[in-house]
Amino acid sequence: MKEARTVPEACNKNETWTTILRPEHKLLDLKLREVIKYRDLIGLFVKRDFITQYKQTILGPLWYVIQPLISTIMFAFVFGNLANISTDGVPYILFYYGGTMLWTYFEKCFRDSSDTFTTNADLFSKVYFPRLTVPISKVFINMLGLAIQFGLLIIFYAYYLLTKSPVHPTWYALLFPLIILWIAALGTGMGLIITSITTKYRDLKQLIAFGINLWMYATPIVYPLSQIPQKYSWVFYVNPVSAPIELFRVWFYGAGYVPPYMIVSSLIMSAFFLFLGLVSFSNGERTFVDVA
C-alpha cells in the first residue's frame, strides 16, 4: 500500500534528463528501444549458450538431432508399429520427426523463458540491462537448434521424395518461418507469465516439469488430428499448440486438416498470452529483485 503523498513538484517539470526513474510505470513498458540498443548483448548471450552447452561433450551440436531422432524412432515403434495409429499416410519418420521438432522448439522456448528470473537472479541483482534480452536470446538459441534439426528433416524429406513416397509439399511450406514465429510467440509468452509467478511460487516449476509431458500427449504429435473423435476435439481448440503443428503437416506433407476456427483461436490465444506475458514480465522485472 502506498501512502498518499504529494509528488514533489520538481518531479513533474520537463527538464532535460536522459533517464528518470520513478516508482510508477506504465502497464506495458517494454523499453523496446533499449532492447534494440542491447542487440549485441542478445547475440553474445546466444553465442555463450551455444558454446557452453556443448563444451566438453564428444558429439557437440549433434545432440540437437540425436534427441528428436531417438524420440522419433521410439514413437514410430510404439505408436506406429505397435499401436498402429494412422499418420494420414505420411511416412512414420517424417510424421513423428516433424512433430517432435516443433514440439521441442515450443517446449524449449516455454521452459527457458519461464526460468528467466530464477536462473539469472544473481546477474539481475548486480547490473541493469533490459531483462527482455534474456528470453529473446533464448528464442534465437533455440531457433539455432531448430535450424540444425530442420536440416535433418530436409535430408529425410529428399529421401522420401526420391523414393516416391506419398508426401505432397505445398507452396505454403515456404511460409514455414511464420509457423516458427507463431510457436516462439506462444511458448515465450506463456513462459514469461510463468517466470513472473515462479519468483514467488517456486513449486510451480515442479508442476511444469510434470505437466509439460502430459501436455505433449494432448497435442497432435504422435497422432494426427484426423484420428480424434469428435467429442474430444475441444481439447485441440483449447490447446493452442495443436494448430501450428498440424498446419505444418498440411503445408509440408499435404496430409491432414486443420479447421480454420482452430487456427484463428490459436492465433488469438498466442497473441493474448504474449501480451499477458510481456505485461507480467515488465511488472515482474521491477519487483523481482526485492522478492527473490
Partner: protein, 411 residues
C-alpha cells in the same frame, strides 16, 4: 544543459520484512479465501498476533541530493545505512518506492567485478560478454580490447577459459573491463576491496584517472574510508536510511569519524509496552567481549504467561538469535518477575562467538502465544571487535557467528 549529473528527489525505498507468502500457491489461496470469508487463516503461525509488529521497513527515507557533473562522490555510512540500496536504485536494479531519480548521461554500474562472467568461456569472450552486459556495443569493445587486455596483465591466458584462472586473475580481468567502460557516470560498490594491495593501488589510480582526467562522475561506496578519501572530492553520509550530511569529503569524513555524531545509543529510556507490561530503560555496559545488559520494566498486569526474550540482530537487520531469560530462571524467580511492580534485571552476555561487527538488541516481551508487547523502539546497540581474525579482518565473509577454535600446528 545543466551541470547536474544525478538529482535524487525525495527518494524512499521500502522493503517487506519476513515471509512474503507461505511459499506455495495453494496455501496462499487458502489463506486468501479464509481471510475473505472472515475465517481464521489456516496457515497463520500459532498465535499470529504475536508477530503483528511492523512488517515493512524503510531502507531509504526521503533522501534528496544532487551530484554534480564531474564530481567523485563517496557515500559513507554504517552497514545497513542504505548505501547499497541507494546504488541499486541509481543503477536501476530496483525501483524506488517513492520519489524520483533523474539522470543525465549513461550510467555504468559496477556492483561486482566480473558480473556475468561465464566460467566456460575464455577471457576474451568474457570481455565481450561482460562489456555488453555493462552496456557497451561490440564495436566499442573491439576498439578498446587491446587496452583492456593490457591493463588486466593476463595476455598469455586471454584465450583460456576463465574457470582455470586464479581468483586474482579473474578480478583483474573484471576490473579491466569495468575501468574501460565508456560511460559518463560510474557507480562502484566496494570493488576496490578485492585483489591484492598492488592491484588495489592500480585500481584506485585508474579510478582517479577516470574521474579526474576524463571528467566523469563517479559514485563510490566503500567501508574503506581511506579509499574514499583518496578517490572522492565530495561525500554524503547516510544513516538509518536518511541523508545526514552532504559536503566536501574532508568535512564528511571528519563528521563520520566523530563518535558523537555517528554513535549508536548504548542506552535507551522511554516507554515501550502496553497495559500489561512496559519497558522503561535498557542500557548496555560493554567490557570487551562480555556485555552487561540492564533492563528495567514494569509489570502492570501480573501473572500472565510472560515470555521475556532478548533478540540480537546484526547490522543488516538479520536476526542472529533470540534468548529468553524468563525461561532460564527458577520457578520462584519467574513468579517474582511477573508480579506487579518495577523489576530490574542485569544480564551478562558473552559475545565472543559473534563475528566482528555491529549488533543491536531488541526486546521481545510477550504473552506466550497471545501477543507481542514490545516494539523496535527500545533498541540498543553494541559492537563486537573480535580480534581473533587479525590477519585479514575485513575480508568479505558474511558470518554472524564465529566459533572459538583451538588449533595446533603439527610438525
Amino acid at each position: 544543459m545543466n551541470d547536474i549529473a544525478i538529482r535524487i528527489e525525495h527518494v524512499s525505498k521500502q522493503y517487506k520484512l519476513g515471509v512474503i507468502n507461505t511459499g506455495t500457491f495453494f496455501r496462499d489461496m487458502q489463506s486468501h479465501f479464509a481471510r475473505k470469508m472472515g475465517k481464521p487463516d489456516p496457515n497463520a503461525k500459532l498465535g499470529n498476533e504475536y508477530f503483528d509488529g511492523p512488517d515493512t521497513f524503510w531502507a531509504l527515507k526521503d533522501v534528496s541530493f544532487d551530484i554534480k557533473r564531474g564530481d567523485r562522490i563517496g557515500i559513507i555510512g554504517k552497514n545497513g545505512a542504505g548505501k547499497s540500496t541507494l546504488l541499486k536504485l541509481i543503477s536501476r536494479i530496483s525501483a524506488p518506492t517513492e520519489g524520483c531519480i533523474k539522470i543525465n548521461g549513461r550510467v555504468a554500474s559496477l556492483l561486482e567485478v566480473g558480473t556475468g562472467f561465464h566460467k566456460e568461456l575464455t577471457g576474451r569472450e568474457n570481455i565481450y560478454l561482460n562489456g555488453s552486459i555493462l552496456g557497451m556495443k561490440k564495436r566499442q569493445i573491439d576498439r578498446i580490447l587491446d587496452e583492456i587486455i593490457d591493463f588486466s596483465g593476463i595476455e598469455q591466458h586471454i584465450d583460456t577459459p576463465v574457470k582455470r584462472y586464479s581468483s586474482g586473475m579473474f578480478v583483474r580481468l573484471g576490473f579491466a573491463v569495468a575501468a574501460h567502460l565508456d560511460s559518463e557516470i560510474l557507480i562502484a560498490d566496494e570493488v576496490l576491496a578485492v585483489g591484492d594491495a598492488k592491484f588495489q593501488e592500480k585500481a584506485i589510480g585508474k579510478m582517479n584517472a577516470i574521474s579526474a582526467e576524463q571528467g566523469r562522475t563517479v559514485i563510490f561506496v566503500s567501508h574503506n574510508i581511506q579509499a574514499v578519501h583518496s578517490l572522492c572530492n565530495v561525500g554524503a553520509i547516510l544513516d538509518k536510511g536518511s541523508l545526514i550530511k552532504s559536503d566536501d569529503i574532508d568535512t564528511c569524513i571528519r563528521y563520520y569519524n566523530n563518535p558523537e555524531n555517528m554513535g549508536r545509543d548504548k542506552a535507551w529510556t522511554g516507554s515501550d509496552g502496553d497495559g500489561n507490561l512496559v519497558v522503561h530503560r535498557a542500557e548496555l555496559y560493554p567490557h570487551d567481549e562480555i556485555i552487561d545488559l540492564l533492563i528495567e520494566f514494569e509489570i502492570k498486569n501480573p501473572d500472565m504467561d510472560y515470555v521475556l526474550c532478548v533478540q540480537f540482530f546484526n547490522n543488516e537487520g538479520r536476526l542472529v538469535c533470540v534468548n529468553s531469560f524468563s525461561d532460564i530462571v527458577t520457578d520462584e524467580e519467574y513468579a517474582q518477575l511477573k508480579s506487579a511492580g518495577n523489576h530490574s534485571v542485569m544480564l551478562q552476555i558473552d559475545t565472543s562467538i559473534f563475528a566482528r561487527g555491529e549488533y543491536y538488541i531488541e526486546f521481545d516481551f510477550a504473552i506466550h502465544c497471545v501477543k507481542r508487547i514490545t516494539t523496535a523502539k527500545s533498541r540498543v546497540y553494541f559492537e563486537v571487535f573480535n580480534q581473533r581474525n587479525h590477519r585479514h579482518p575485513a575480508s568479505c565473509r558474511e558470518n554472524t557467528i564465529e566459533p572459538i577454535w583451538q588449533y595446533e600446528i603439527q610438525a
